[in-house]
């Protein structure tokens, strides 16, 4: 830094601070012209500010390093910290089903083909993220459109494998878990009614 020697709480010059903040906020590398335009200054001043930051964020000095990449500059975590970052962010995770995913999957399994709005009505809450995850994991797939134009879903072979089922006829009989087995109506109607009752609580 260009500050006089031995100054403890030396401040980074304003332009370098601005450039630092912009690099920090941006997910992508920023070019000198981009930085100059944002800071409303000349490119020469930006180059000087980058040189200053380059010293502060030189490899091995801090946990963050300044890199020149793809015609621009970017801040990145120092490779020496990668092990800790891996422990925090990328612990391998076994794909298990959350309660919301299990419910959505059960609805698709027993009522297929079924549309997303219907799933949402039965669950009483949005099923978008659960549906997306199940699609991604290959447990459900698209099955054409309903007569009303809504996209429908069905389970996949992958689903049968995960649950160790030969075919859909092997799905367990719901009667075992039915809270009111005396009800005669069809499963779909009963689920829709219960879902609407749950969501309807809001309107009360």
């Amino acid at each position: 830094m260009s500050a006089p020697a031995g100054e403890q709480d030396e401040q980074t010059p304003a332009l370098a601070r601005t450039v630092e903040a912009l690099l920090f906020l941006s997910a992508d590398p920023l070019s000198v012209p981009e930085l100059a335009a944002a800071a409303e200054t000349g490119e020469g001043a930006v180059v000087a500010a980058l040189a200053l930051l380059g010293q502060e964020y030189a490899p091995g000095r801090r946990g963050i390093v300044l890199r020149e990449l793809g015609g621009g500059f970017t801040l990145a975590s120092d490779p020496s910290t990668e092990e800790a970052a891996r422990r925090l962010f990328s612990r391998p995770r076994l794909a298990t089903l959350t309660a919301a995913q299990a419910e959505t999957l059960a609805i698709v399994a027993y009522l297929q083909p079924i549309s997303r709005p219907e799933i949402a009505r039965i669950r009483g809450v949005s099923a978008d993220s659960a549906t997306a995850t199940l699609l991604e994991r290959g447990l459900i797939e698209e099955a054409g459109h309903s007569q009303f134009g809504a996209l429908q879903y069905r389970t996949t072979t992958q689903f049968l494998k995960l649950f160790g089922l030969r075919d859909l006829d092997q799905l367990p009989d719901v009667a075992r878990w039915d809270p009111s087995p005396e009800e005669q109506a069809e499963l779909r109607d009963r689920l829709l009614r219960a879902g609407e009752a749950r969501a309807g609580g809001e309107a009360g």
Partner: protein, 255 residues
Amino acid sequence: MSLASLEIDLDVFSGPFDLLLTLVLREEVDLLEVPLAEIVLTYLDHLEQRGELDLEAATEFIVLIAALLELKSRLMLSGEEEELLDIEPEQAAEELLARMLDAARYRAAAGHLRALLAAEEGVRFRAAPLPLALRRRIVPAAEGSERPELLGEAIGRLLAMPPKINLRHIGSPRVSVAERLAHLRGLLRRGAFSFDEAVRGADRMTIAVTLFALLELYKLGEASWEQRESFGEIAVSATATSPEALAPPAARLAG
């Protein structure tokens, strides 16, 4: 308050708004006979004439009119035996007061939040995706590792009806909007129907709640209706975008 200068001209009462309020609370004017919509219209005219919006007064008006609406709807909905019909003017005044205080309290808290937000002006956070090397790895589960019972259990949970709603402050309504919503949706699934059909044999309260549920369906875009002559039959039908194509509000929000 500038509301005092709001002159109301109704069949049952003519004079300043705050006097009407007082007379309603003292039961000298029957709230059931006060067309609240006309008061709102008068207020809107009043605003237009003034050409400026006094937020304080507007908020106060909204709180008061909302309190009146609730009182009125309680009077309309409660059965003859309801003790709410005997509500003392003092009680009603207390109720209005409590409501005004509650609203004022959170209005002030809202002001505090806005000040906090303003103080954070210019603070931004980094929102970059993790470097590719650090993205979470997901190990697929082994075949046959999930129990099929999991699915049956989930259906069992979804079949459970929620406990009946008990609106303690209205006493015990025998019918909920949720029930009537489900009832109307059931009829819609079969096709068009008339409102009379939907409430055949129902008591006054159920009819009122059913009408409320119908308004809700209309708001959600699931149903529309047609009445060719006043007091004539109301024909209810599913809209072009039928119920199956429509998600409940929650689904739309999350999108």
